[in-house]
């Protein structure tokens, strides 16, 4: 066993000893991965993880480094980027990824990617044309 493997074994014991909790949170994260376009509020997600809302948010953040809401938004934006790259309109991309309104979609897209959906889409079309 080399040094790196021994460190992994150590971390498994010290940081990730609560197997059941990790599994519950992981399954909820995977639920977000496939159901991101649905109306997923905190009540739904916490119930899915069999945890109280407070405990769920704290555990999710400890395991993934971001809150469940931040994660959900990042999954939606990732999918929106894929749709926009395929020349789908902003309104359609917004609707297909579960955002409540175009305004909040544009705002969050800009905040996360640093560019607007429109600019992103045009840039992708341009690079495709070349």
């Amino acid at each position: 066993m080399n040094y790196y493997i021994s460190q992994i074994e150590k971390l498994k014991k010290e940081v990730y000893s609560k197997d059941y909790l990790i599994t519950q949170v992981m399954e909820t994260k995977q639920f977000i991965d496939t159901n991101f376009a649905e109306n997923l509020d905190l009540n739904v997600l916490a119930k899915k993880a069999y945890l109280s809302k407070f405990h769920f948010i704290r555990s999710f953040k400890n395991i993934y480094g971001v809150t469940p809401h931040q994660y959900l938004i990042s999954v939606r934006i990732k999918e929106a980027k894929r749709l926009l790259s395929n020349n789908i309109t902003i309104a359609e991309s917004c609707a297909a990824t579960g955002f409540e309104s175009t305004t909040s979609f544009i705002g969050l897209f800009k905040k996360i990617t640093g560019t607007t959906p429109d600019l992103y889409r045009r840039k992708k079309q341009l690079s495709r044309a070349h």
Binding site: N2, Y3, Y4, I5, I8, K12, Y16, I22, K29, Y64
Partner: protein
């Protein structure tokens, strides 16, 4: 107002465009990273004894470029060898499915020092890039 306009035009931001990896042999590394791992060569510029050599992911060809840098500086060689011996990865690549990638690479003769292992919400595996480095692949579960 004019000054503001000027700064807005030249866009004062720093971008992360490159990451680098020291390799013992650039030609051998290019072959391994493109033919075995599946990356794409982005630039190759001759520079005397060595060259400026970068690769990108097939999926993000306008994304961060990985520079395959020659291991010319002696102390870097000592450092790289120590990391290799300890099994520590020089860098890590994200994949969709560690198990499938492990099987694919193994069938191509790639040697793994760590088989697919779950650590919390992450699955990882470590292989030898044949150019002096351990490389990790990981997947968020």
């Amino acid at each position: 107002m004019q000054a503001f306009y000027f700064f807005a035009q030249i866009n004062l931001v720093m971008r992360i465009k490159l990451a680098s990896l020291l390799v013992q042999d650039q030609d051998k590394a290019l072959k391994f990273y493109t033919e075995i791992l599946g990356f794409i060569k982005k630039t190759e510029i001759p520079m005397g004894e060595h060259k400026w050599l970068t690769i990108v992911s097939k999926e993000e060809q306008d994304g961060v470029e990985l520079v395959l840098e020659p291991l010319g500086f002696a102390p870097a060689k000592v450092y790289t060898e120590a990391l290799f011996k300890a099994g520590i990865p020089q860098t890590a690549f994200n994949v969709d499915d560690v198990d499938k990638e492990y099987e694919r690479l193994k069938s191509l003769g790639v040697e793994f020092s760590l088989q697919p292992t779950q650590m919390g919400p992450t699955k990882l595996a470590v292989f030898n890039d044949t150019c002096g480095n351990n490389i990790q692949i990981f997947q968020l579960l």
